[in-house]
Every structure is written in structure tokens, then in C-alpha cells.
């Protein structure tokens, strides 16, 4: 009871503060600062027509490298906790609907994921969403099978290889153009073509492989731990 009252009071006070803030907010009519700079010079600088990808991979590529490290440490912690303390042994068998779907859909889902990854510089997408889509296909396969395949070695080698590729592409720019992760070590090409935008498609591929293998690793250790005792 006290918990409910205190919780409600805190939420209402925060709501009042937020509503006051939003009430004072005036809708901007033009872009300002760095956002405007990105929209004006983004295509020239990076060769990528999708400016979000240009910011994520080219302008703020170093931050993305840091974010990949955060994702890596979180997935390592999940796998470590679930491996050190095994919770269950036998996976629950899938229903016939899930088993049937898992036999049909994964190929199409993986193809769609690869499309999202490789077209990150042209249309909405890129390594992170595409990698998540590919991982969802692996999740479907795992949910639809009775046995748990142990692919942790394969997954971690893909993950390491992708991370290494990201780092080495960064150093390539550093040694040739004097700038870490400079994406114009490969000529930008004509914006809007599939092979354009320097090393952005390569980094997208690396990020996609890394995200897909990390999320698949999390799913498979969940699946291993989630069975009945």
C-alpha cells in the first residue's frame, strides 16, 4: 500500500515536471548545429545517401566501435552467467506450429537480413537492425528443434573475426589517410549505387555479423538454460 502511494506520488511529480517542460517547448522550424552540417555535407563527405548510416558508421564510427564493445561485454556476461550456473537440462519440445514454421521461414528471413545489412547506406537499415533480423532466424531454428546444437565455438569465432575486421578497417584509414576509421580509403563512388560510400558497406557487414552472432549466442545460452530440471 505504502509502496503504491509513494510510487504514484513520484510518478505524478515527474509527470508534472515533464508536462511543464513540454509546454515550454517550441517546435523548431529549421535544423541547427551539427545536424544541419551533416545534412548539407553528409553525402559529399561520406558518399552515403542515408545520413543516419553516415553518422553512425562514418562521422561517429569511433562511438559505434565503443558501442560494439558494450554489446560484446553484455553478451559475454550473459553467456558466462548461464554457463557457470546451468539451470536446466532438457529443452521443452516445440509445438507443431513452431516446428513447421521453423522449417520454412528462416531462409527468407536470413535473405531479408542480408539485404538490410548490405543496403544500409542506401535505405533504412544497416548492420545493427540487419544483424538482429538474421539472429531472429537463428532463434526460430533453435525454438523449432528438439536438440540444442552447440555452436558456441563457431559463433565466437565469427564474432571475433567481425570485431577484428572493424578494428583493422579503422587502422587502414589511420595509416593511409592519417585518420582512424576514415571511410574514404576506398573511393566514395557515385552516391546511391550499391558499391559506393567507401568502407561503410564493409563496416556494416562486420557489424551485422557481430550483432547476429552475439544475439544468437545469447539466445542459444537462454535455450540451453531454460529447460526443465
Amino acid at each position: 500500500m505504502i509502496r503504491t502511494i509513494v510510487g504514484l506520488a513520484i510518478v505524478l511529480v515527474l509527470a508534472a515536471i515533464l508536462i511543464t517542460v513540454v509546454d515550454d517547448y517550441t517546435v523548431p522550424s529549421a535544423l541547427s548545429g551539427v545536424g544541419e552540417l551533416y545534412t548539407q555535407t553528409g553525402v559529399e563527405d561520406t558518399g552515403s545517401v542515408n545520413l543516419v548510416t553516415a553518422v553512425v558508421v562514418a562521422y561517429r564510427g569511433l562511438d559505434t566501435l565503443g558501442e560494439v564493445v558494450v554489446l560484446f561485454s553484455a553478451s559475454t556476461a550473459v553467456v558466462l552467467i548461464l554457463t557457470l550456473i546451468p539451470i536446466g537440462a532438457n529443452p521443452t519440445p516445440p509445438s507443431s506450429i513452431v516446428a513447421f514454421t521453423a522449417g520454412i521461414l528462416p531462409g527468407a528471413i536470413i535473405l531479408f537480413g542480408i539485404y538490410i545489412i548490405t543496403h544500409g547506406h542506401l535505405s533504412p537499415g544497416g548492420g545493427f537492425p540487419g544483424g538482429a533480423v538474421v539472429a531472429s532466424a537463428f532463434l526460430l531454428v533453435m525454438l523449432g528443434s528438439n536438440t540444442i546444437p552447440d555452436k558456441s565455438k563457431f559463433l565466437s569465432s565469427i564474432e571475433s573475426l567481425a570485431g577484428l575486421t572493424f578494428g583493422l578497417l579503422g587502422f587502414w584509414g589511420m595509416f593511409t589517410l592519417g585518420q582512424f576509421l576514415n571511410n574514404l580509403v576506398i573511393p566514395a563512388g557515385s552516391p546511391g549505387r550499391i558499391i559506393s560510400a567507401g568502407i561503410i558497406p564493409l563496416i556494416s557487414l562486420a557489424i551485422g555479423a557481430k550483432v547476429a552472432s552475439e544475439l544468437s549466442g545469447i539466445f542459444s545460452s537462454y535455450r540451453k538454460a531454460g529447460g526443465e530440471e
Binding site: V11, L14, L31, G42, A54, R60, G192
Partner: protein, 118 residues
């Protein structure tokens, strides 16, 4: 109010609402997995507000084309793209630690988890 502005303000209202519902859930729920769920709700609300902060009515998505000249701010969208992935990783870690704590104390109710008391 035009449809574009209706969309604009409903986006802000949805974000604020999700943050408040998530906070309410974290403060009052007792099942550890429901707390994790409320936490991810608040996370989603924060992401929505961040995207909204770079959104300008009557402008196109930031994909430059010969026919597109005025676009919304790409920077918050890039931030949120990374924030979503980090959110997934944090939620996965949250669930694992929650399952571990509930196995240790024999119950998923946080009132039975003596390690959380201070």
C-alpha cells in the same frame, strides 16, 4: 491542428507516457521479470523522445535524393539506433541476473530476496 502536428505531439505524449508507465512499474511491481519488462518500457519511451527531439514536422526522412532537400535531423536517429541495441543487451543481462536471483532465493518475488535489502 494538421495531421502532421497531431502525429508530432502524439509521438511526444506516447514517449512521456511510456517513461512514466515504466517508472511506475519499476517502483511498484514485485515480480522481478515484470520489473525488467517495465524497465524496457521506460527504455522504449526514452528512445521515442530522443527521436522526437530531432523530428521536424513536414520534413522527409534523412535519406538524400534528388527530390528530397529538407530532411529531419539525422543525429538523434543515429543515437537511438545504437541505444536500441544497447537496450536489448541490457535487458538480456537484466533477465539473466533476475532468473539467477530468483533461483537463489526460491522465488521471483523481490520481497523474498534478502540480498536486495539495505
Amino acid at each position: 491542428m494538421s495531421a502532421e502536428y497531431l502525429f508530432y505531439w502524439s509521438m511526444a505524449a506516447t514517449g512521456l507516457g511510456l517513461v512514466l508507465i515504466g517508472l511506475w512499474g519499476v517502483l511498484t511491481r514485485k515480480h522481478i521479470l515484470r520489473i525488467a519488462l517495465a524497465f524496457t518500457l521506460a527504455d522504449t519511451g526514452v528512445n521515442l523522445i530522443l527521436v522526437w527531439s530531432g523530428f521536424l514536422p513536414n520534413r522527409a526522412a534523412p535519406i538524400i535524393d534528388s527530390s528530397v532537400t529538407t530532411v529531419v535531423d539525422p543525429l538523434p536517429q543515429a543515437l537511438v539506433l545504437t541505444s536500441i541495441v544497447i537496450g536489448v543487451a541490457v535487458a538480456a543481462l537484466f533477465v539473466v541476473v533476475g532468473v539467477l536471483a530468483s533461483r537463489k532465493s526460491g522465488s521471483a518475488d523481490i520481497r523474498h530476496m534478502k540480498e536486495l535489502r539495505w
